[in-house]
Structures are given as C-alpha cells and as structure tokens.
C-alpha cells in the first residue's frame, strides 16, 4: 500500500511540475482552464486505454511495443516543445506588446521548456537503446548519485525539469546536447523547418520506430494517435496528447488559445501503474 502511494506521489510530483510550467506558459490566454481540463480528461482516457491493453499491444511489435510507443510519444513531445519554444521566440513580441511585465515570464518559461524538451529527449533515446535500436555510447559517463540521488525529491524534480540523470549514458548526453543545440539554432528559422528537421532526425536515428513519430500535426490529432498506437503506461501517451493538442492549437490560433494540458500525465501514470498491477 505504501509502495503504491509512493508511486502515485512520485508521478504526481512530476506531472505537477509540468502542469506548473504549462500554466505559466499559458498565462493570460482565455479559456486555458477549459483546455487544461480537456487535456486531463483526454489523458485519463488515454492512460486507461494503455493500461487496459498494455499486455496485448506489447506483443504487437515482437515484444518491443513498450519501447516503441514510449519513444514515439516522447519524440513527439520533444518536437512539440521544440516547436513551442521556437514559435514563442518569434511571436513573443506580438503577444506582449502591451504587457511589459510578461516579458520576463516568457523568457523564463522559454528556458524551462527548452530543458524540459532536452530531458524528454534523453528518455526517448534510452527507450530506443533499450530495444537495441540505438547504441548506448557508454554507460555511466559519470556518477553524481553521491551528490544528488535521482530517487530523492530534489533529484526527481531536477530529473523532470532538466533531465537530470545521476549516471548518464553517452547517448543520453548526446540527445540532451543535440536537442538544445537544434532548438537554439533554429529559433530564428521557421517552425515547420525545425519540426521537419527534428522529426526526420529522430526518424533516422530510430530506424523502425520512425513511422510512429510522424503525424499529429493538426490540432489535437495526437490524441487518437496515442490511443490507437497505445501500449504501455498511460503517462507518456497523456503527455504527448496534451502537448500535441495544445501546442499546434496555439500556433494555429496565434497563441490566443489553448495552453497545453498536462495534469493528465500524473493521474495517468498512477492509474496506468495501478491498473496493470
């Protein structure tokens, strides 16, 4: 019982952090409560589906269903965050014309989103190397667990916010750096170009996992994608659904609408874990 409570707490903490970022990022946007609420509902649904069909879907890719789904959803989330970040960089000026004190907020959120994307990218490549689709490029480049335990609360928070890993592998470090570099480099380029570059990059690197990372370019279209390709824990599906439906909506509607909706993933991860149990 305590173990289950701990899992729920841990996953909730993670999601709460992300929701906080989303709430900050969507400040001043009308109807954001409704959007975030919808994201939660969609996430719960997605998690439930994933939990219910976990075993069945795992077998559909010759035992690689979990890795491929997780990697695809994480990859999608990274793309959406990257898109958001780049888009914000080029449109923030219009959005905050009259609200001068929002400028700092946007700057902070932008950095948070950048690191969040990099952190998710490290998780994405881990799943691909777990399925032997990517090399690890060396396990345990360094070990900082004596300084900051990844299982402790502070370690957990940093893990979510910036992708902190006490004993990172080479491929994780590479993914982290490349993600930040790509986003940073492309912030002045068009969002579509960047998105294409990242998708193709991930596609190329992940080989067979490729097909799953495509799609979901329209408003909310990732929700059915996550559901239909679902296999393992609900959390990631929820995260992706939330980001994917949120960010493109923002872009499409010039940022007047839709924050990203995230509370979902917390609830989801917990529900996902419990239902499987």
């Amino acid at each position: 019982m305590f173990a289950v409570a701990l899992i729920v707490f841990r996953e909730t903490l993670e999601a709460a952090l992300i929701v906080s970022i989303v709430l900050a990022a969507s400040i001043g946007i009308p109807g954001r409560g409704r959007w975030i609420g919808a994201g939660v509902a969609g996430g719960i649904l997605g998690a439930t589906m994933v939990a219910l069909f976990a075993a069945a879907i795992e077998q559909t890719f010759a035992g690689s269903g979990q890795e491929l789904l997780n990697a695809a959803i994480l990859g999608l989330a990274v793309c959406m965050l990257a898109w958001h970040n780049i888009w914000m960089a080029s449109h923030a000026r219009e959005l905050i014309q009259e609200a001068n004190n929002l400028r700092r907020l946007f700057a902070v959120v932008s950095v948070l989103v950048l690191f969040l994307a990099a952190g998710l990218a490290t998780q994405c490549v881990s799943f691909l190397s777990q399925d032997d689709l990517l090399p690890t490029l060396g396990e345990g480049l360094w070990d900082t667990s004596f300084l900051l335990d990844e299982d402790g609360i502070a370690g957990r928070i940093l893990h979510t916010l910036i992708g902190y890993t006490a004993r990172p592998s080479g491929i994780q470090l590479l993914a982290w750096i490349v993600t930040i570099w790509l986003i940073h480099r492309r912030r002045n380029a068009s969002a579509l170009t960047v998105l294409a570059a990242i998708v193709i990059g991930i596609t190329g690197l992940s080989g067979p996992a490729a097909a799953d990372t495509r799609g979901g370019s329209g408003c909310g279209s990732a929700i059915p994608l996550s559901l239909s390709s679902g296999s393992t824990r609900g959390s990631l599906a929820a995260q992706s659904a939330v980001w994917t439906s949120g960010v493109p909506c923002r872009v499409k509607n010039s940022g007047r609408e839709g924050g990203v909706k995230f509370v979902a993933s917390a609830v989801l991860r917990s529900i996902g874990s419990e239902m499987i149990d």
Partner: protein, 124 residues
C-alpha cells in the same frame, strides 16, 4: 534578391538537406549494425518476492540481452536507474531488454511496483 533574403534568415532548405540525409543514413546503418550481431541472452526470473538470481554475473564490454521472466502472479516492472532501463512484464510473461556494453561494476535493479525487491547485475 529573394534568394539572398532566404539565405540571410538561415532557412535555405538546401543547407538543411545534407545534414538531414546524413542523420537518416547514420540511423539506418546503426540500426542494421545493431541487428546484425546476435547478442548473448542472460536470464533472470521474478518470483513475486525476489529475483532469481539476485546477483547476476554479466560480461563487460559487450552488448547483451537480459531476459526477464515473470513467474509470479502479478505484473512487475523491471527497472534500473543505473542503466536507464524500465520494462513492464505482465504475470507469466517474459521480456527482453538490451543492456551494455558495461564497464566493470555493480548495477542495481528493482521491481518498480515493489521497489523493495532488488537485485544487481555484476559486470566483471
């Protein structure tokens, strides 16, 4: 004129293409190289209250596959923070997890649904 504007903005598609192609090729060769060799399989069994064996001897410097067999009546998630691996294994099922190449040392793993049940991969 138009071309110059595009170039100044750094969005010239011609500049982007070679790097994309490179990424795709890199990915393809790596994926196929990874598939070509068949890494050795090492087994561990989950019995509901413990892993068997609790301490698993594994080789250093080569990639191998860990075969996790769940012989209990509940789902478990094989997880290792040190190795960045996590995989749910339903009751009665088995799953394969690619690991390594590892440097000599001890790598802890546990069942994420029952985190007190732990074991170690010992690479030497």
């Amino acid at each position: 004129m138009r071309l110059r504007v595009i170039r100044n903005n750094g969005t010239n598609p011609m500049r982007l293409r070679p790097s994309l192609l490179l990424l795709v090729l890199l990915g393809a060769t790596q994926a196929s190289a990874a598939r070509a060799e068949d890494p050795p399989e090492i087994a561990v069994t989950f019995l509901g209250d413990r892993f068997e064996p609790t301490e698993i001897s594994v080789p250093t410097a080569v990639k191998f596959a860990l075969r996790v067999e769940n012989k209990s009546t509940v789902s478990m998630e094989w997880e290792s923070r040190a190795l960045h691996r996590e995989k749910i294994v339903p009751a009665g099922a088995s799953a394969k997890i690619s690991v390594g190449p590892l440097a000599a040392g001890s790598y802890e793993f546990f069942d994420d649904f029952h985190p007190k049940i732990r074991g170690h991969l010992v690479a030497h």
